[in-house]
Structure formats: C-alpha cells, structure tokens
Amino acid sequence: MSPMIFQTALYASLVLCALGLAWRVSAWFRVRVGPDARAVTLSRRVAAVFQGIAATLASRRVFQIPGAFVLDVLLQRRLFANEKLRWFGHLLVVVGFTLLLLMHALWASVTVKLFQGYQPTLDPYLFLRNLFGTMILVGVALLLYGRWRRRTGLPQARRRIDAAFVALLAFVLVTGFLLEAHKIASPRAFYRMAEQFIGTTDAEKLMPLRALWASEFGVAFADLKTPIAPHLVQQGRELHRDACAFCHTPPASAFVSYPVAQILAPVSGLLDQVRADIWLLYLHVFACFLGLASLPFTLFFHVVTAPISLLVNAAAPQRELPGQTFPTPTLSSAVRASRRALALDACVRCGICDMRCSVAPLARYLGNPGLLPAHMLQATAALADGSLLRPGREAGALRAAEGAFLCTDCGRCTSRCPVGLDLADLWEAARGDLAAAGLPAPAQWVQARAALAWAESLEAGPGQYIFSAADAWSAPLSADRRTFSRCVQCQTCTNVCPVVAHSIDSEHGVDLTPQKVMNLLRLGLGDLTLGSRMVWDCASCYQCQEHCPEGIRVADIMLELRALAVHRLGAVRSLGERS
C-alpha cells in the first residue's frame, strides 16, 4: 500500500472521528430529556458541568477518582458483580483489543520504541498477535452467548449499527488472520524477500532455502516435491541464518494463521496470481479506518461514554442507600440534564437490566417489551430526537407509554447497570416527557374527556360497544348483570367512600358516585362509566365493598372498569390529547 494512500485514509478517518466525537459530545449539552431539562439553557448546562468538575477537583472526592478508574473502568467491578461470564468476555475483548492496537497497529510508534529489534515476523510477536486476535474473537463469542442466554422471550433492545460494528470487528480480525496466513504460504512473498535480501529469484539456486522454508515456514511451493530431502533442509539453514533469521522465526507459533496457511497452501499460487496480499491488506486496513471514522456512532462509542459515566458517579456526591449494591450520585438539575443525555449514549443494550426488571413477568404476559429498561431507554432516546412520535409509529409510542407507566421504580435497573447509569432518574424524566407529548398515564389521558364524551366517542367509533360475553374474561364482574341484581340502591357505598367525602370542589371532585356507577352497569349503560372520574379516582380502599349489605364487589368492579377502559377508550383515543 502506498504510504500516501495510507496516510490520507488515516488522517481522513481521524478527522471524521474527531468531528463525530464533537457532534456526539455536544449532544450531552443539547439533548433534552425531562421537563426540568427543558427549563435549563445550553450555556447553563455547560457552565454547570464545568462548575461540577471544578468543585470535585477542589474537594476530597478527587481522591476517589483514581480508585474508581482502576476498579470501575479498568476492572469493571460492576459488571463482575452482575455476571461473571460477561465480565470475562468483556475483559478478553478489552485486553486483546488494547494490546493488538498498541503492539500491532501502532507498532511504529510504540513497539519499536519499547522492544529493540521488533519485527512482526519474529516470536513472540507472531504468537502474541494470534493470541490477542483470538482473545477478541473468544470474548465476542462469550458476549454473544451471554446475550443469547439472557433472552427473555421478548425481543431484545438493539441497534442495527451495533450489529454492523460487531461484524466489522470480526471482519478486521478475519482479514488479519487471512492476510497473515496468505503471506506465510505465499511463494511470491518468498521470492520478493529473496530478491531483496539475497539478490536472486532463481528457483534452483534457492533450492536449499526453499526446502527449509517449505518444511519449517509453511511456504507452499507448487514445484517442490514432498517429502523434502532432509539434507537440502540442512543446507538451507546456513543461508537462512545469514539472510532471513534476523526477521523470521518459524510461524508455527501463529497458532491461528499457521493452520490457516496450511489450509490455503493448495490455492496459494492462485492467491498470488490475483494479488491477495494487496487486496487483503486494503480490506484489513480500510476496515480499521472505517471502524475509526464511525467510532462516535457505533457501539465503540461506549469506550468514551462508559468511563465518563462511571467516573461521574465516583466524583459526584453520593446518596448511599442500604440494600443498594452501588450508590447513586446526587447531581444538580443542570448537571442531571447532561447526565441523562450521556446515559442515552452510554447504554450498550447489554440487557442486564432487563433480566432482573421487576415488571419483566408483566412485560412477557402483556407481550410488551416496552416495559423493559433497555427498551425504555431506546424509547426515551427516540422521544428526545423526535422519532418516537413520527406519524405511522403510533403503536410503538403507545407501547412505550404503557411500559413507562407500569414501571414500579424499584430501582433494580439502576443498581445493576454495569456503566452506572441513574436509570430511575431517566424514567422519571421520560414519563414527564411522555406526558408532555400527549402520552401520559391512563389516569391522565382518560381525564382529557368527560365520561359522557367518551361514551359518545365509543358510539361513533369503529363499532358500538356493549358489555358482552367478550368481556367476561377480562371484566367478569362488570359484564355479568347478575352482579348488580341484588343492589337495593341504599347508597352505603357512596356514603362510606372517602373520595366522595373529600370531593368538595367541582374541579377536582368526582362526577358519579359509586352507587351511580353500579346503577349504570345494572342498566347496561356501562360505556358511560368507563371515562368517569369516580372509576379513575377510586382509591381502592375497599370501604364500599366491605360495607355493601348485599356483598356487591364494588371496588373490584371499579378496577375491572379501569382495565376495560384502557382498552376500549384506547381504541377511540386521539394521541396528543391533553387533559
């Protein structure tokens, strides 16, 4: 490869990477997640971050950073606490990648300076390159296996670009091994070197050396007959020692490339003809440059974001709760706004949060992955960039809203997150944004219309609804008129209801009383109850049910009606409606 092409491509990739990084980092100050973040200006956010850094540097907390860097960033103790297998796989990838980058990709500026007489074709470098490459491949395989093992029966959160990045990484490794294997087996490479260092390409003159290189260095000479005479090999050793040994040790220590070279041996002449050495090198190097240029937009970006997230946790004042494995930082709202934007970038969709999510069983039963943290994060990001509310995506937006409002804030995702994201804070912010975008909790969107207006919408909707046998499975009490046949209209339910008792103003008071709700159901006018404030403001205190002289399950019915309303009214609801 000509140095000019190499240099141009390298610098172009570096420039693209730097521009991408600048754009992505600026998002931490631009992107707004949460109603409180909208009130903070960009300049205030930038200032708050710098103030935070200055305050940390001036405080005793600064001494916690080196320890956190070693334990959290380098040794990944949060990941270790969660899942040993993933931790091991991740460690293999990190160590393999870092050492391969330093020893192999940056050999001219690192390895040569540290180790005199470095040649890529000498041991231990031959062996180490194969070792590091294998570490990455095994690590990636372990990570993929872990991901497969964590499957919950629901689709896992993922980004296409992440799969593309993993494919690119594998491509770099495979082309690297193939290139090395091809160069080991290539007669053409042998003759090129012979011409340079011995001054001849004459096959006959080089016969002893060729015999040695065929038998111990894996070169696939088509014209050499096997078995090769041992005395020829011995003759070759002297020339080898004088001309080749400075730069070459037998490549059998390249435990991946060497066996591959032996497999390639029958076609190595053909590969020489089509100049596989050139195009494999181009593929290998340009794939690396592509990875570098796209770094800010792929999974690779977490190399930047995850350490920042972990170090912010170490540097910020902590609120430590007993029972929590790792403390959560307390941040000002301006810093928190940036922390949330960073969280959207730092999540690698590992899915560890999904595994121990408290509402995962509900997500499975409802068939809605939107309840799971990794999906909620993805929806929060989509809400922040506007794509969640794009026309045609209503179903996805509704699933996300259902998920966000069924989250119980149990905090398990936060305490488990390997990159230490304050997810509990993110969910609260996301719920605020969803509500502001017209996707609030059911109790809120139902209140956008009066009970009578909802009943009219149902009548004008896709089909007239009546409580029927179809509702028997979801609302068996309400659908069965016999439930109310014993009602004597005594109004005890209403008289003991604390919500009725505290309804002292028309704005925040209930519309119907419990007794009226029961009566409407008894008359077959259930549609009139679904959007009523009484149903949605019911405190589920069960006073009515406890006191009903006829044993009617008033409160159970109220709760049934809510679930029924979510589905019925949801079908005739217009998104973006505000209460």
Binding site: Q324, Y365, L366, A424, A443, A475, V499, E560
Partner: protein, 268 residues
C-alpha cells in the same frame, strides 16, 4: 419459623429502612427470612389487565411454592394484591388455566400451598404479643402512637383475613407490647390517599392531610405505619409543608427500639 421475604418494589428503592428494620427485628425474634428472586406483585397492572396482574402475583407465589416456603410481606399493598390474586385464581377456573399455562412456559406451577402472610399478624399471632412484650428491653413508655392500619390489610376482610375490618385491635396490641400508648383517632381506618395521588393529586392531598390533622388532634406524637405506600405518602405530603406535622415511624422501628436493637440497624 421460616418465610420467603417479599419486599416488593417500593421498600428496596424508597424505604430501605423498612427492609433493614424488618430483618433486624425478625432476626432478633428468631424468624428466618429467605430471599428469593421475586418480582413486582402485580399491583400496577390491575389498571391494565386483570390477567397480567394475577399472572405476576401467581408467579411470585409459585416461586415461594418451589422453595417450599410461605410468603411474608411487610408491604400492605403487596399483601392485598397477592391475596386478591389467590381469590381470583380460586374462583375463576378459566383464568387459572390461562395463568397455569403461562407459568408452565417458565417452568413454574401454582397449586396454592404457599400462604401469604402480613408482617403484623405474624408478630401478633405467630410470635405472639406476650412474647414480644417479654422481649422488650427498652419500653417506649409514654409515647403516644397513632396506628395506621392501611386499607389493603383490612379490606375486603374476606380476602385479607387480617383482623376485624370495622374494629381491628391487632396494631394497637402490638403498639402496647412496646410499652407505648396507642391513641384512638377517628380516621385510623381511612385511606392514606396514596393510590389516587397520580390520578387526582389535590384530592389525594386532602385525604392525607385530613388524617395527619386527625392524628395530631387526637394527641398522637407519631403515626406508626406498616406499609411503605402509607409511610412515604405521609412523609411526602409533610415535606416542606407549613402545616403542623407529625413524625412517622415504621412499626418495625418502634419494636426494634423497644427490643433494644441499635438504631442504625433499624435505619434510624
């Protein structure tokens, strides 16, 4: 005595002191607690799907069953939800079939052998009020305490089977065991207002404040709770409010202090 401890979602994240004090007190009294990988009791899903809520509850019951343990919860709302799920599973064969099928897909089964117990009846009946009183080392003599029962412990009584729903005594007898004095307050069986906090915040706030005012008027120095929802509700309404306030204390903290346990172990 050995139970699977069901903390629910609120206690670990918002009220860890309740988990700590429950463990400290029960450990001191010789009740063994086992931690299983429980999930949400199902309560929030009741507004969305009866099936999903019962499934979530049944899944937890199945986990306890697999461990061969009864389930103990210090959360009154989790208690009510799990007990309701037992009722629905018992009375609706079709629902039971759907839930059984979904559980089987996860290698679980529910047959109803694990009971659901609330912390207060366990202390009052299984450990025993007299045994508690005998174990008290530092009686809270003179402390006037308002017992906050919590709706889902009491009602519906045929589901909860907790105490007399109209004139319960269990909480007061437990308070008396610590040496403190239970006060009689008219609103002691009322709702704390928490469940409609999201749907109607002003009305919810009025309900909570009415209870606080009533407890103060009745001469209580503290409201004693046995549910994270009630407890956090009182604290949230009083935070930053100019109105007269009252201290909240978890029953496990009150008992722990009386037993002479270090206050740090009670999250105080």
């Amino acid at each position: 005595m050995k139970y699977a401890l069901f903390l629910g979602c609120k206690i670990p994240s918002r009220l860890p002191a309740y988990a700590a004090s429950t463990r400290a007190v029960l450990g001191h009294l010789g009740v063994t607690l086992v931690d299983l990988e429980f999930d949400c009791c199902g309560y929030p899903a009741r507004d969305v799907s009866r099936d999903a809520f019962v499934f979530a509850a049944a899944r937890n019951l199945a986990l306890a069953e697999r461990a061969g343990l009864d389930l103990l919860t210090p959360c009154t709302c989790c208690f009510g939800t799990l007990r309701h799920a037992l009722r629905f599973l018992g009375e609706d064969a079709q629902l039971r079939a759907r839930v059984t099928q979904a559980l089987a897909a996860e290698g679980l089964a529910w047959s109803g052998t694990s009971a659901v117990e609330h912390l207060l009846p366990l202390l009052a009946r299984k450990v025993g009020v007299d045994a508690l009183a005998a174990a008290v080392r530092a009686p809270r003599t003179g402390l006037r305490v308002a017992a906050q029962y919590g709706c889902h412990a009491l009602r519906p009584s045929n589901v909860a089977r907790f105490d007399n729903p109209l004139a319960p005594t269990i909480f007061e007898s437990l308070i008396r065991a610590t040496g403190a004095t239970p006060v009689d307050w008219p609103r002691r069986l009322d709702c704390c207002g928490d469940p409609l906090h999201q749907a109607n915040a002003p009305l919810s706030g009025r309900m909570t404040r009415a209870k606080i005012a009533d407890a103060l008027e009745s001469g209580a120095e503290t409201i004693c709770t046995a549910c994270p929802h009630c407890h956090l509700r009182f604290d949230a309404v009083q935070a930053g409010s100019p109105e007269p306030s009252i201290r909240t204390l978890l029953y496990t903290q009150l008992l722990g202090l009386a037993l002479g346990l270090p206050s740090k172990s009670l999250g105080l």
